[in-house]
Structure formats: structure tokens, C-alpha cells
């Protein structure tokens, strides 16, 4: 990879990232992760987080606002992750913890995706280099065939032709586009969907999973409800029955009649 790990300064300097080509938070984050040779799930994430946040701070007011914002979003996610690391291990009960886990999954997914595209970009560069050495045949038609060419149909009026010229010569200014893509706030909350599932089961006592997600508007909600069921199972308030592998999944409410 050209963009990430190789060009990072050796260990002694506490924070010095010299990337060949540095274009954004994902570059920096992958660079830091590579520098510490760590799995992104390991404990040293806190260290990466500190360095990343220090970098964000240095970007300061001088930087391009959009770029700084994107760094801040990633930094905030990392802070959440660091906070989660400081909590006692094992128990994930608090709803904030759940939010942190969701944020982590999202950030990891983005990093993996970003890395995959960087690798593809490298193969593109290689292909382009190879292809540069091949030149297509594109030559003038031999005169004897050029004479045979049918006369070109040119049925435009001068005004229509002028219109094409205006359209072609007019500069096309880039249209600003407002994106919310960098805001990772999940539209579907596992916590809310857990409540939805619990309410349904408490009333009906037993339901199939199919029925529980029948009104889910999208896959994300279905997934959130499934995760909610796992929460409820951990809390010991639901049980599962499935007669055959991949068969209908029945969910029973085994908790009390009222909440809490």
C-alpha cells in the first residue's frame, strides 16, 4: 500500500506521522494502527486515540472546516471507545455501552472498507501502468474508403448548433452537496428496539421471530430487534425454541408480567 504504513517515523518520537499521501482521518487512523502494530480491538487503542486526538487539536482553526469536522467525528468515536475500555470488562448493560459498541462496529466497518478500497486503488494503479504501454490502432481511413463514406447527416439549424455550443462551452460549477454521511448517529437504536420486542412478547407471551419483525421497515431494524432479543435472553426474560435448523424461531416471554 502506498498510502499507509511504511512512511511512519520510528518509535522514539512520541507523535510524528509522516504519511506519503495523507488525505484524511482514515489515513491517519490506519497509519497509527499500523505504527503500533496492533489489532484495532486491542487495549493500545487508547494510545492511538490519544495521538489521534492530539492531532485533531493541532489541526485547530487553521484547517479546512470540513476536514476538521470529519476528524472530530472520528475522534469522538475513538473517545467513546477509550471510555468503554476503561469500564470493567464483561458486562455490557448500560445503554451508553451499547451505543459505544455500535459506534465501534461502524468505525471498524469503515476502516475495513476504506482499507479494501485502498488495496483496489493499488491494483488500479498497476493496471493503468501496464496498459499505458499498449497503444490502440486509431488511424485515418485509407483514402479509397474515405471516399465511400456516406455524407454526414447534419440536420441542425444554425440556432440548434449554437445551442449545443453554449451548452458545451458553459462552465459547470460544482454544485455544493450537503452530506450527513459523516454523522454516524444510528437511525435505529438497539435499546428502543429491545423495548419494542419486550412489549410485544410481554403481551403475547409467545411469538415467532418472523412475527416480531413483520413490521420492521428495513434490515437494520430487523438486525436491531435480533440484537434486542439477545439482550433480553442475557437478562433471562426470554427463551427460544427452534424445531429444526433454520426452522421457524419461536420466542417465549419467561420474565415477569410487569417491567422491572
Amino acid at each position: 500500500m502506498t498510502a499507509v504504513p511504511t512512511a511512519i517515523a520510528p518509535a522514539p518520537e512520541p507523535f510524528a506521522v509522516h504519511l506519503d499521501v495523507f488525505s484524511g482521518p482514515f489515513d491517519l487512523l490506519l497509519g497509527l494502527i499500523a505504527k503500533h502494530e496492533l489489532d484495532i480491538t486491542e487495549i493500545a487503542l487508547s494510545q492511538v486515540t490519544d495521538e489521534f486526538i492530539a492531532h485533531t487539536r493541532r489541526l485547530g482553526a487553521g484547517g479546512d472546516l470540513e476536514q476538521t469536522t470529519q476528524f472530530l467525528v472520528v475522534a469522538a468515536t475513538l473517545l467513546d471507545l477509550k471510555a468503554a475500555k476503561l469500564l470493567p470488562r464483561g458486562e455490557v448493560e448500560d445503554e451508553d455501552d451499547l451505543a459505544v459498541l455500535e459506534a465501534r462496529d461502524l468505525l471498524f466497518a469503515r476502516l475495513l472498507q476504506y482499507r479494501a478500497f485502498q488495496q483496489v486503488a493499488d491494483t488500479f494503479a498497476q493496471r493503468l501502468t501496464v496498459e499505458e504501454h499498449r497503444h490502440p490502432r486509431a488511424v485515418k481511413l485509407e483514402p479509397r474508403f474515405a471516399e465511400l463514406l456516406p455524407e454526414v447527416l447534419l440536420t441542425l439549424t444554425p440556432d440548434q448548433f449554437a445551442e449545443i455550443a453554449s451548452r458545451t462551452l458553459a462552465p459547470r460549477p460544482p454544485q455544493p452537496e450537503l452530506t450527513l454521511g459523516h454523522m454516524y448517529t444510528p437511525a435505529v437504536s438497539v435499546r428502543e428496539q429491545t423495548d419494542v420486542v419486550a412489549d410485544l412478547l410481554r403481551t403475547a407471551t409467545s411469538m415467532t421471530f418472523r412475527a416480531l419483525v413483520a413490521d420492521a421497515p428495513d434490515t437494520t431494524t430487523t438486525v436491531a430487534r435480533f440484537l434486542g432479543l439477545l439482550n433480553l435472553f442475557r437478562d433471562g426474560v426470554v427463551g427460544f425454541d427452534q424445531a429444526t435448523p433454520l426452522g421457524e424461531l419461536h420466542v417465549r416471554w419467561t420474565g415477569g408480567a410487569t417491567d422491572e
Partner: protein, 194 residues
Amino acid sequence: MNDLAVTAERLALRPALEAVLMVADEPLDHVTLAGVVEGPPAVVLDTLHEMASSYDHEERGFELRSVAGGWRYYTRARYASAVERFVLDGQHARLTPAALETLAVVAYRQPISRGRVSAVRGVNVDGVIRTLVTRGLVEEAGTDAETGAVLYRTTGYFCERLGLSSLEELPAIAPLLPDVASFDLQMQEELELS
């Protein structure tokens, strides 16, 4: 038709195909070629493949390749130094890593808006997309029905420059993404949509 007759038919088609490909200045698909040389498309296609491999075998200075959906004569890469002493075109300026990454995202997620490319790359890509459009590698492809954002896709020239017969020849990206990621990816895309 027996094998001998098929061979004879191919032998008759080969020089006619060579003649037509010699005057073409863009890739021609085998159906168009079949119409011009008046042969069955399937036999024409076989003949084209045979021609390509015999040029390779005979170590010709040119090769016949199927690129961007059509067949066309190209010079063989091994003789690039002689060819480039002759044709000096400066149009092959290198793309920056940022441009290559953006091109990769567009290629695998097309049609896609600039906003979505930005989300994947983590930076604003407006300038880079403009460069790719200017280079003829990417073009506009209508607008998103919901958001009204302009969508982008790769061009035929992109396939040509990468030596791809079609987009289906793009290397698979899945092996580069661990299993977990495909789920997360889908999740993320839906979150972004919402």
C-alpha cells in the same frame, strides 16, 4: 457442419476480420463484426479468440484484445519503447492516490453520489471527482431519486484504460473485506441511507 467445414469457415473469416479491424478506430463487438464479414456470430467470436492467441504465439508486435466490450488492435506492451519514441502523447499523466481511491469507490459502488464517496473515503472528494470527469474516466449518471444528488459512474474509456473487457472483469473486492465487514458494510449503507 463437420469440423473440417468449421475450420474452413474460420479460415475464410480471419482475413476479412483482419481487414475490418485494421480500419476501425474504436473497439468493435463480435456481433457488429459478424454482420460486416457476413459470418455466424459464434464462429466469428471463436475466430477472434484464435486470431488473438495466434498473434501472441507468433510474437507479433501487435495484439488483438477484447477491451471495453469490443475487439481492437493494440501494440504489444513489450515494444512500448519503440512505439513511444514515435508517438509522444503526454496524456498519460499519473493519477494521485486520492484520485485512484475515489475511482475505486466509484467503480465498485456505481452509480454513487459524491457524498457517499466522501463517506467512504473520509474526506471531501468534490475536486477529485471533477478531475476524474475531466479525464473522461467518470461521468454523470442522473440523480438520486430520493436526495436529488448527482450520481457518478465509470465510463467505457475507464474500461479501456484498465484493459477491462467490461466492468464484470473488475477484481472481486469481497476477499479484501473480512467476513465481519460485509455485515457491517451493509449496516452502514443502510444507516447512511436513513
